[in-house]
């Protein structure tokens, strides 16, 4: 029912994708402008960087998820994956004293969980929602068991640089976000793998019939989602300076919301990674703004829900109008 955006060859000035992205940029600028009018401190470089740094944490969890969703899947285990990877990495760093072991462990664990998800979905033909929901419980349980009610804290300074450091005046998590975003963009828009991902998401059967190795592609998508969860776990660990088995669980729904607010459709086959960046910024700027306006925290879920609804309805209106008088 949704026409995959990439197949939409139209001579008009702006593709629907670009229009949707532009709409989000305009929205962010409008909100930022309004907040600056209320409190000029909002537009200070330090506040903007602070906000982007918070958004980048959210984006990193959501990035791999975006790829999976474009390919027509879903990964509910990203939050639990982040928890487990962070806990294992923290233990590795504490016992060896060498941050690189932590990096290896987090990326290894994250990727492995993604790989297991992919296998369950491919080989055992489990629906993605359930396979990854089951994985959520398993990973979370292992994290609880491994930590035994404790926290692991006090990471070496060299490692904490990932989360707290600056490079050319810009916080490192923002650089990492840029790199991950760039990598995902290239993957999606400049490779066969990317084209096939959109194709698969739009119509799996046609993709299979036209020779796309669907299973292998799908496995890789879940592995990538696990990988980015592993990378995100390192940034979280470095930012928080501690691992506890409760850090990832509250991140799942915001991450999914960031993907969806970014314009990626859960039906698969359309969307892009820049949208997710904008989605993460939008959700963060709103919380930041509500705090700035001294709105009670009890309102946050309501506003977040409203943003999700407004974003999807606006997209619908735009796409209906563009597809002409149907």
């Amino acid at each position: 029912m949704t026409v995959p955006a990439t197949l939409d060859i139209r001579p008009s000035s702006l593709s629907p994708d670009a229009a949707a992205l532009l709409g989000r940029v305009v929205l962010i600028v409008l909100i930022a402008g309004a907040l600056t009018a209320v409190d000029p401190g909002f537009a200070s470089v330090s506040n903007l960087l602070n906000m982007l740094r918070q958004a980048s944490l959210l984006f990193l969890v959501a990035s791999g998820l975006t790829l999976v969703i474009i390919g027509g899947g879903l990964d509910l285990s990203v939050g639990a994956n982040l928890t487990l990877s962070a806990c294992l990495a923290a233990a590795a760093i504490k016992t060896t004293g060498n941050p690189w072991y932590g990096v290896a462990v987090a990326i290894g664990a994250g990727t492995l969980i993604g790989f297991a998800n992919g296998l369950m979905i491919n080989r055992l033909r489990l629906p993605p929602f359930l396979a990854t929901f089951g994985m959520l419980w398993v990973a979370q349980g292992i994290a609880y068991w491994f930590m035994a009610g404790q926290t692991i804290y006090g990471m070496p300074m060299s490692f904490r640089y990932f989360g707290t450091g600056f490079f050319l005046g810009v916080p490192l998590p923002i650089w990492i976000t840029l790199m991950v975003c760039l990598a995902c963009s290239i993957l999606l828009h400049r490779t066969t793998f990317g084209r096939e991902t959109y194709f698969m998401g739009a119509n799996q059967t046609t993709a299979l019939l036209s020779g796309v190795p669907v299973e292998r592609r799908r496995l890789l998508l879940y592995v990538l989602s696990g990988l980015t969860a592993g990378i995100a776990s390192l940034v979280y660990l470095a930012r928080l300076n501690a691992a506890e088995p409760g850090i990832g669980e509250p991140l799942l729904l915001p991450a999914i919301a960031a993907v969806l607010v970014g314009g990626t459709s859960l039906f698969g086959g359309n969307g892009n990674i820049v949208g997710t960046v904008l989605g993460a910024i939008l959700l963060t700027i709103i919380v930041n703004g509500l705090n700035l306006l001294n709105v009670a925290a009890t309102w946050h879920p309501f506003v977040n829900g409203a943003v999700v609804l407004v974003a999807i309805i606006a997209d619908l209106v735009i796409s209906r109008r563009r597809s002409g008088s149907r």
Binding site: S44, G141, A148, G149, T151, R239, L240, A242, E244, T298
Partner: protein
């Protein structure tokens, strides 16, 4: 539960064994001990205290924690389920005092002796309440900070979970102390839900909003530790931070000087005393209606006892707190 991480793999191998053993052991009384989550090390302290005192008094302990942190419905189901196993004593802390009260009352009516510990569990005929005075902890720690600041300055408050007894009472204590110091200005008071990440992000936003912050009062260690990370990252090194709890990580921060002081909310002591009071009561002694464990102010001058790992600490006896 209380094993080093290295022995965990061995433990995994014998899980099937314990599965069948756990029901068979029958020496001494069985205690069912409830805690609210597996995330906060405070509750690990509680469980360690219960374990030590139970071992000393020759009773067996079984631990119950919801699989999702602080989940009310799950906590209720767990209460109902455990009632069936008919333990000799139950140590109960509410996740939500109002919600769990009907179930607790029914369990007490059915003849199960229950000690309420850590958080106040509402108006039910418990054998006893063992805990601390959260209002006083909040009041004392806020005064410690204000005195340190010379009675004047700008402070922010990181509150606990709204609606929880501990969170609300501590907040009431903070507010009372603020009233006593006319030159202390509260810039903002926001919930950080006893969480580290929320403590950090709330602090990051407050740093952007206020150019001068002299002090931070946090309702729990985890959010204070998050706030300290945010303050350090922003280069605000001379902000005095105080909190409540005294988990090992926070005590190390006191030692290092990044945390000014902690009002002691000692899970280990609460666990020890609650177990002792409960076992004494079901063995025929009369139980005091209430045991309030005083909380020390942990500072750089006296932190050492709280750095000792839980398993190496020695349980205090209830007498120390009853006969004042």
């Amino acid at each position: 539960m209380r094993t080093t991480r290295s022995t965990r793999c061995v433990l995994a191998a014998v899980i099937c064994g314990t599965l069948f053993n756990s029901a068979a052991r029958a020496d001494g009384e069985t205690i069912a001990a409830f805690t609210k989550n597996q995330v906060d090390p405070h509750f690990e302290g509680v469980r360690a205290g219960v374990a030590q005192m139970a071992a000393k008094m020759k009773a067996t302990v079984k631990y119950y924690t919801p699989t999702k942190p602080n989940n009310i419905t799950e906590g209720m189901s767990q209460l109902e389920d455990v009632g069936v196993t008919k333990p000799n004593l139950m140590l109960f802390m509410p996740i939500d005092a109002k919600a769990q009260l009907p179930t607790i009352k029914r369990l007490i009516e059915s003849g199960l002796p229950i000690i309420n510990y850590n958080d106040r569990g509402g108006d039910a005929p418990y054998l006893s309440f063992v805990g601390q005075d959260d209002y006083k902890l909040g009041h004392d720690i806020a005064k410690t900070l204000f005195d340190h600041l010379g009675g004047k300055g700008n402070v922010v408050i990181l509150e606990g979970v709204k609606g929880s007894t501990t969170g609300d009472e501590r907040k009431r204590g903070f507010d009372a102390a603020v009233k006593e110091y006319p030159n202390i200005k509260v810039l903002a008071s926001q919930p950080a839900n006893f969480q580290r990440l929320l403590g950090m992000q709330t602090m990051e936003n407050l740093i952007q909003q206020f150019s001068i912050i002299d002090g931070v009062i946090s309702a729990a260690d985890a959010s204070a530790l998050g706030a300290i990370e945010a303050l350090n990252a922003a280069g605000r090194k001379n902000v005095a931070v105080v909190s409540i709890n005294g988990v090992p990580e926070a005590v190390e921060a006191v030692k290092a000087g990044s945390l000014l002081a902690i009002a002691e909310f000692d899970g280990f002591k609460i666990g020890c005393v609650a177990t002792a009071v409960g076992l004494n009561a079901i063995r025929g002694q009369s139980a005091p209606k209430q045991v309030t464990i005083p909380g020390a102010i942990i500072t750089k001058a006296n932190y050492a006892p709280w750095l000792v790992p839980y398993k190496d600490r020695t349980c205090p006896t209830p007498d120390a707190y009853i006969a004042k």
